[in-house]
């Protein structure tokens, strides 16, 4: 999720808070210790996950991402049938703190969206890898997935980020 700013004061503050001025005392260390990473999924540097099953790729945001955002209060999703492109925004997640764009890890066509999120956006917090999935995509180029991070790599990536 690209944290593009739609700016409330707290929205800005939360990002700034991520870059703690005390490297020995990372902000959000508490969240970090609880955030989970699932094996078998692929991850982006902007904190989306993708799970490929046959010709369908399911996409959501990671536990790490939802932990940093706080309670999700609104989810903006594309229509079924829309085209998505790898690295481009397909929707947005709003929390009390911030608005974040969500980028697609793969290019292709949206074949299903999780309409439950309209009524219950908090599913992204309570179940980021299961009930909180966002879209299902039919990838146009499945080889795109190869360039994404695996679970170990992503765990390390998050640790390095939090340490900065």
């Amino acid at each position: 999720m690209a944290l593009k700013l739609w700016a409330s004061s707290t929205a800005n503050a939360i990002r700034i808070s991520c870059s703690s001025s005390r490297p020995d005392f990372p902000a959000f260390s508490i969240f970090r210790s609880f955030s989970s990473v699932i094996e078998g999924l692929k991850y982006t540097g902007s904190h989306e996950w993708v799970k490929q099953e046959g010709s369908v790729a399911t996409v959501g945001i990671t536990d790490h991402a939802q932990g940093h955002l706080g309670e999700v209060v609104f989810v903006e999703l594309p229509e079924s049938g829309a085209a998505v492109a790898k690295g481009s925004s397909f929707g947005a997640v709003e929390s009390v703190k911030a608005t974040s764009d969500v980028n697609s890890p793969v290019s292709g066509e949206v074949i299903e969206v999780n309409t439950k999120l309209t009524e219950t956006p908090g599913l992204i917090n309570s179940s980021p890898y299961e009930d909180g999935w966002m879209i299902k995509v039919r990838p146009s180029d499945p080889s795109e997935l190869k360039s994404l991070m695996g679970s170990k790599e992503y765990t390390k990536f998050c640790e390095e980020e939090d340490a900065h």
Binding site: S21, A65, V96
Partner: protein, 416 residues
Amino acid sequence: MRGGGGLWQLSQCLARRLSRSKPRGMPRAFATAPAAETVELKKTALHDLHVEHGGKMVPFAGWSMPLQYNDSIMDSTLHCRAAAGLFDVSHMCGLSLRGRDCVPFLETLVIADVAGLRPGTGTLTVFTNERGGAIDDSVVTKVGDDHIYLVVNAGCRDKDLAHIGAHLDDFKAKGGDVEWHIHDERSLLALQGPLAAPVLQLLMKDDLSKIYFGEFRTLDINGAHCFLTRTGYTGEDGFEISVPSDHAVDLTRAILEKSEGKVRLTGLGARDSLRLEAGLCLYGNDMEQHTTPVEAGLSWAIGKRRRAEGGFLGAKVILKQLQEGPPIRRVGFFSNGPPPRSHSEILSSSSSGGEKIGEVTSGGFSPCLKKNIAMGYVKSGFHKPGTQVKIVIRGKANDGIVTKMPFVPTKYYKPS
């Protein structure tokens, strides 16, 4: 209003970092060195206590301040309204004006009827410029005829002090008797919520039931000589306590301990949600140099005598607006869709298809009401409660409706 740096400072800070970093989303926020590395952030007397309590420290108006603690912003906001929250607002600037002429001096700079205040009472006011715009908002207290105490925003400190200082020099050169003192030796705590009074009462002898909203006393709390104002920035009953900085940690710990965990430390994130729910302005967002107090909906703060006499900077513009009505007005909104944020466009909802009528200045999801709330400015004529509007977010027009503020009823302690 009574925030600190306001949005612009945070945005600047952020913009600087974004412009230097790789465009890859969330990591931007982590990977790049914050402005803090080049400019040393100031720390309040409570800094270590914040860190000890899990405070996520962020740069705010040149200070390192807690955005939140271990509670989420949602929980923290709700807790303040259900029990109480304790905020470190020491970044804000306390100031005393003393001398025979301190009241007439201050009246040249603000819209309030300071002379008309009873000793020991205060009010929200606005420092204006020659064009009638707001330099800052502030709570001013008339301690007595020869002593004014006021608190200005952290983010406005330098420009406010320069402004007041320049006028002070002129005033004294003409023979006026006023001296000022900046209370950098003191820290400022805000204790807000229904448990604020019962908990604070445990730490002092004076009877808090006799001190009403807007009133000020100097008295002993937990063995320290404090300035106590029954005011705040949440819409709840509560206090702002100016305490000598070497007693600030003791007082904070005493409040937390006496409350048996019911008072919780609360950060800037919840403070912003709370003040928005209370319909209060954040200077830098909802009020700026070009906004007049009339446009901002603060005409009530212009004293009757001041309306007749003027005598403050920009009075000509402001009094004319009072007569003829302002071209734009600050209003509240409820809306559907994503929460509006600062700078979201507001369109009229006419069938002919929506001209731009204004812009949102603050907005978000209300933790208490569980729906979107926002404030912003619209052209006069579109300001009446019930007016349908469209609020544009990421290119999509969402339904909104002009609504009275505060969004959440205020609970100030007033004589019944």
